[in-house]
Subunit: 211 residues, 2 copies
């Protein structure tokens, strides 16, 4: 097919920036401050969902104060913004896609403030991102991926999403998008494969020249 044009969407938070474990600790602190007790491994399992989904998922439908909890989590996370580091090969992968003229977009459901901190950690202030400000349903809903595909003007079914969580996989599967998982989020291979990953690699470095 002459009009086949592969394209790539890159998750930001956890995939290009090594942020997942800091999110877990920030959520733990926010939840405890609000009087909730949730084991950290459960918090970790939910990272990668949008906050609006994560809080009721963790608290079993108890959703009062979701936005206050999300705000408190973000405030606590951003206190550690200067500790954020890129995942191995994050910048190299972006450079590689640019060099090879492969259409790509960094797609994130992070709030503007969080996005700014993540992009700064990445050291690419001019990076264009598709973001979720206008997206009503957060991951694992595919809205963000659809919006990003529309921005690229390409068929979601010809795109590959690189992400670190099973929730990325669930979002991709809903629209027939291929999902390649990186281990940087600390999710086990079984969960990533169950989440629809066609393959699992350590980090973005492993994908340089291969997408």
């Amino acid at each position: 097919m002459d009009d086949y044009q592969p394209s790539v969407l890159l998750d930001l938070d956890g995939t290009l920036v090594d942020s997942v474990f800091l999110h877990v600790v920030a959520w733990d602190a926010a939840l405890r401050a609000a009087g909730h007790r949730v084991p950290m491994w459960r918090i970790h399992e939910g990272i990668g969902m949008g906050s609006k989904r994560l809080v009721p998922w963790l608290l079993g439908g108890h959703v009062d104060g979701t936005s206050e909890l999300s705000d408190d989590h973000e405030r606590r996370f951003l206190e550690h913004a200067d500790e954020l580091q890129t995942t191995p090969g994050a910048k190299a992968l972006i450079d590689d896609l640019e060099r090879r003229d492969i259409p790509f977009l960094v797609a994130t459901s992070a709030t503007a403030q969080l996005r700014e901190a993540l992009v700064e950690a990445l050291g690419m202030p001019d990076l264009t991102t598709a973001d979720a400000d206008d997206v009503s349903s957060p991951k694992p809903a595919p809205d963000l991926l659809l919006a990003a595909s529309a921005t690229l003007g390409l068929d979601p079914a010809h795109a590959t999403l690189v992400g670190d969580s099973p929730w990325d996989g669930e979002a991709a599967a809903a629209i027939g998008m291929r999902f390649i998982a990186v281990r940087t989020g600390g999710f086990g291979d079984d969960r990533l494969l169950d989440g629809g990953a066609s393959s699992v690699v350590d980090d973005p470095r492993a994908l340089v020249g291969r997408l």
Copy 2:
């Protein structure tokens, strides 16, 4: 067999106290401060090993300054000691073992200072622990488990270890001890089963009345 006496060893750090994710963040900070870059998911994978093993495992044999790194990690971890919480059912499981007269021991390779913080988090200051002060080879070597079995005066092959990491499983397997894994360390089921777990449950609560 009349002389069969089942017994239980309980890992402390990560199994009875919800500490693993705080360890990851503390190791990350200590490693960065020393000029090393290690992705957090790799740090997480090594949690549960003794520090003397973990540092060379993470740094690929670069072992200069292992004890300084371990000390710095512990200092940073202990700054968050007041955030430590028990895992669900930790105290209930200990109460259950006592009530049912099942010989058990909490076995930990933590340093005295760390052990004190963990036991305090557990709210059981009088708890007897078998510890690794005299144990030369840290987990995944079985030395600690052998020492704890000797303290109980029981056959390691009749004991069950409850732990949260594949390294617990490796130590248990080396001496024919059964290993039951809890998910509180954030390790995937596949890794725990590969590590020799005979079963995997969410947390200590799931084992109350069942050991």
